[in-house]
Structure formats: structure tokens, C-alpha cells
Subunit: 295 residues, 2 copies
């Protein structure tokens, strides 16, 4: 069972508009609501692939209840820790050109609730083959929260995939996840001019950096790879990195050799671009890309 | 007891940002949540004035539960009918210049739930001295919903104040509310070039049209008035019309003569501008304006 951790999930609201006009009022004709968060997308993709998966993390308040209900309606197995704070919302205002995002910060999580989650996580790790730690941390959590979870899993012999950004990435890396997978923008935000090798120098595990249509670059403890899809796929790039993470987690579980594992990650990421919603992928594009991606 | 009806209340979310940049992502550092809707603001103002008031209307889903909780925390007496659809949200993105609004449409209310509300309303009318009908209608309600409620109240001898816009205003007017109170923008949106007199020709009651710092114009079955504050007040005009409506409702109950009633409405509206949040007013400005407003 792959356990996906989402510490700062969200209720994603999408508001379609003809055009976003600052300082005007927009009457929204239809709202779409979806359970959001990178870890939830990883869980969705694995679930769609037929892989045993369990989504965990923190959910609270009325918005948390809505997110739990949406996830349940999708059939994704989940075991979240309830917290007192209210799970955040994100609002995406989508016009004909692009999306404009408004991201709430997430609930302030007190230390006692975090400890309760760590204990819950410890129990789940006992039945896990791989753990994924994806997305941002809500306010109030220790900045090395992913480091703490990585050490719990690693001590139990369960490999960890880490996909986050900023200080949470820097602190998590040091705990030595089996794979750390930021994207190129998150890498350069960490320190201007940094390369994959700079990141790799900070961890005992492998580093895989995704870079949109350019594919990915991986540096493992022994080797180095570049891998790209045979042709660029157009569509919605949101969630492509999460599909890559899902493929990497499955490959970690199966101890797949790096070249076919990275090909799978590139193909699944490209197939996610071809799907209009995050957390889903186009199976035809996936198989087409699997046949053509090179490493 | 003044009964305030809010058929399409909202959870109002305010997102402060430095600047709204279309097609970028904005991380919101703090979110404020407030129970929203014109009728709720009328209820708040009356409650703050110490007048017996009861807020009613439709609330549903998890967002409706949040709105009910927020209202309860403010101490405003309420008796809403629960519906299956989810109460809407409004998002106001506020930068240094102004607010940009995103208004969800509201839940689709089936006929059976509407009938259930009308029966609930009939019961409340028995104990009411005045009824206010304010704000938009959620999807699914008959366009003459305010007409239906106006007839129920009027047949029971309870005067009605109507404050809405568009087709709901046009249909409601015909049922003859004691006072109809749109603002100048709502009047011109109804039919370009229309005056207060044109609106007054469609109803047996009085028409009061508010026009921001210019004050208000009223045409009653017998007389005509213009009324303005002694000096313009700067601040947040949202909710000023609702404060006016609260004053008019109280005056209807007390059978106050038109000139002092309209002075009270102008003064309370101006005092609401001086308060940073809708549904509240500045008592000092209120008393200052009461002394100075002319009619």
C-alpha cells in the first residue's frame, strides 16, 4: 500500500468568467468544487492505475468535511486526522486566457494535533510499502515536519518520496528521502542558479527535477539521467508533477530500475497534461508516451 | 418583531492582497469570513439598535451551517429554513485601490423547499410588526417570490419593505409592498432613463430610491421628498442601503411620519458608511447626522 500524505489539502473552487476585470464584480454562473492538494492528486492517479493507496493528512472544520466527502465520492481510500482548524480553500478564476489563483494559507495546526498525526502516521507506515510527502505545510507545523515523517518511515524501512518547496523542501531533504522530486521552478526558488547536482549534494537519496515539456533530470547516488517525452503534449499542466510522483512512488515500491521508472514517470506526467483536471491522466496518451519516451 | 427575509444569504470571504494581478497566483495571508446578505445586514443594524428582530430565509449545506454559526456568534436571533443545496459564497479580493468581487449564484431551490419556506414564513408573520424582503433570489425560485411573500404579509396586515433588483424587483413591486427601496443603480438597471416616479407608478406603496452621498428621493402615495446628509461621509458604502432599509422598517413599525423617518434613514445610511464593515454603523456619526440631515 502506498501512503500519500497531504498536510495542507484544500477545497479547490473554480470560477469561470468571461474576463477578470479588477475592481469589478463578477457574477459566477457555475462553481466547481474539488478536493485539492498535491498528495490527493498522487493518490487519485495511483487509484486510477489500480494500485493500492491510502490518502492521509490533516482535515478540519466544515471545509475539511466537504473535502473528505468529495474524496469519498471519488472512491479514494482515506484516513485523515481531524484537526480543529478549518481546511483552506483555493479559488481559481478562469477566463479565456489563463487562471488567476487565490490560495488561502491553511489552518494553524497546534503542536498537540501535529503529534497526534505523527502517531497516526506511524501506525499507517507499518502497513506501507512507500510513503509520499507532497505539497505545502499549513501554518504552525514545524518547518522540518517532512523531515520528521521521513525519519519515521525510513526507520521502519519504508522508502519516502518528497515533493515540496521552500524551507520545507530544504529541511526534508536532509532526512534523506529515497527520492526528492521538486520541479525546476521550485529548485531555482530554493537558491538562484542551483542545479540538480546542488540539491543532490544535500541528501543521501536520489533527486528528480521535472521541467515541463523538457521532461526530467535525475541524479541518483550512482547515475545521472535525462528523460523526455517523444513529443510535447498540450493541455493542463497542473497535476503533471503529481502524476510523475505517482509513477515514481510505484516504481520505488516495485524496485523498478531507474531507466524504465523514469520513462514511466515522464509518460504519466505527459498523460496528465492531456487530461483537463489535475489528478487524472489520459490512458491513450500514457501508452503512446510509454512507447516513445527516451531515457 | 421585525422579520428580515434573506433568501440568498452568503458566506462572504475577504482576501486582502497587495495588488490583484490577473493570471498570477496570490497567496492570501489571512481570510476573513462573515455571514453576508442584505437581509442579514438589516437584521444586524436593527439588533444593534436594540430593536426586536428575527432573521429568516434559506440556508443549506456545509456553507449554510457556517453562516448559521457566524450569525449565532453575533447574537442575531434567527430561524432559517434548511434546504438541501449549498448556500453560496462571495469572494472579495481587496487591494489598496478597491475590491474585486466574485459572487457565486446560490443553490438551486426546488419548489417543495420553497413551499416549506412560505409556510414557515406564514407562521413568523403572525408575530411580526414589519417584514423586510432584501437581496437577490437564488436560482430555482419563482421570479415573483417576493410578490408571494408580500401578499402573505399584507393579507395578515403586516407592512413589507422590499429592497431587491431586476425582475425580482419588478415582480415584487406589483404586489404592493408598503415601501420599495432600490438604489439609483438598480433603478436605472430596471429600465434606462426611469425615474422614481416611473417606479412609483407600478406599485400602490411608497418608493424610496437611495443615491449614495446625494441622499434619497421618496415618493409616497401622497407626497414627494428629497433628503440628504448635511455633509458627505467617507468610508465603506457597502451596507449603507441596508442600514437605510433598517431605519425604514423601524419607522414603518412605529408609523413614524415621513419627514423624520427619511431623516433617520439618511442618517443611519451615512453612519453605516462610516463603519468599516457592512451591517454596522458608527453611533456618533448617526447622532451627528440625525441632527443635521434635512428633508
Amino acid at each position: 500500500m502506498i501512503v500519500t500524505v497531504t498536510l495542507n489539502p484544500a477545497l479547490d473552487l473554480t470560477y469561470p468568467v468571461d474576463a477578470l476585470v479588477p475592481h469589478h464584480t463578477h457574477r459566477i454562473s457555475a462553481v466547481s468544487e474539488r478536493a485539492g492538494g498535491k498528495g490527493l492528486n498522487v493518490a487519485r492517479v495511483l487509484h486510477a492505475l489500480g494500485e493500492p493507496v491510502l490518502a492521509t493528512g490533516l482535515l478540519g472544520g466544515p471545509t475539511g468535511t466537504v473535502v473528505a466527502g468529495l474524496l469519498d465520492a471519488e472512491g479514494v481510500p482515506a484516513s485523515f486526522t481531524r484537526i480543529t482548524g478549518d481546511t483552506r480553500r483555493t479559488v481559481a478564476v478562469v477566463d479565456n486566457e489563463d487562471a488567476t489563483g487565490f490560495w488561502e494559507p491553511g489552518p494553524v495546526v497546534p503542536a498537540a494535533e501535529w503529534s497526534r498525526f505523527v502517531e497516526h502516521f506511524r501506525g499507517l507506515v507499518a502497513g506501507a510499502s512507500v510513503v509520499t510527502l507532497c505539497g505545502s505545510l499549513p501554518p504552525g507545523l514545524p518547518i522540518d515536519a517532512y523531515g520528521v515523517l521521513t525519519r519515521v518511515a525510513t526507520e521502519a524501512g519504508v522508502p519516502v518520496l518528497l515533493d515540496t518547496s521552500g524551507p520545507a523542501l530544504r529541511e526534508g531533504l536532509a532526512a534523506g528521502p529515497a527520492v526528492t522530486k521538486p520541479n525546476a521552478a521550485e529548485l531555482s526558488a530554493l537558491a538562484p542558479g542551483w542545479t540538480v547536482a546542488d540539491l543532490r549534494a544535500l541528501t543521501s537519496g536520489a533527486v528528480v527535477v521535472t521541467d515541463g515539456v523538457a521532461g526530467l533530470r535525475a541524479i541518483t547516488p550512482d547515475e545521472e539521467f535525462r528523460c523526455a517525452p517523444p513529443a510535447p503534449v498540450t493541455g493542463n499542466p497542473t497535476g503533471a508533477g503529481d502524476a510523475c510522483a505517482a509513477a515514481l512512488a510505484r516504481g520505488l515500491r516495485d524496485r523498478t530500475a531507474w531507466p524504465p521508472l523514469l520513462v514511466d514517470a515522464v509518460a504519466l506526467g505527459a498523460a496528465a497534461v492531456a487530461s483537463p483536471v489535475a489528478g487524472a491522466f489520459d490512458p491513450d496518451v500514457y501508452h503512446e508516451m510509454l512507447a516513445g519516451a527516451g531515457c
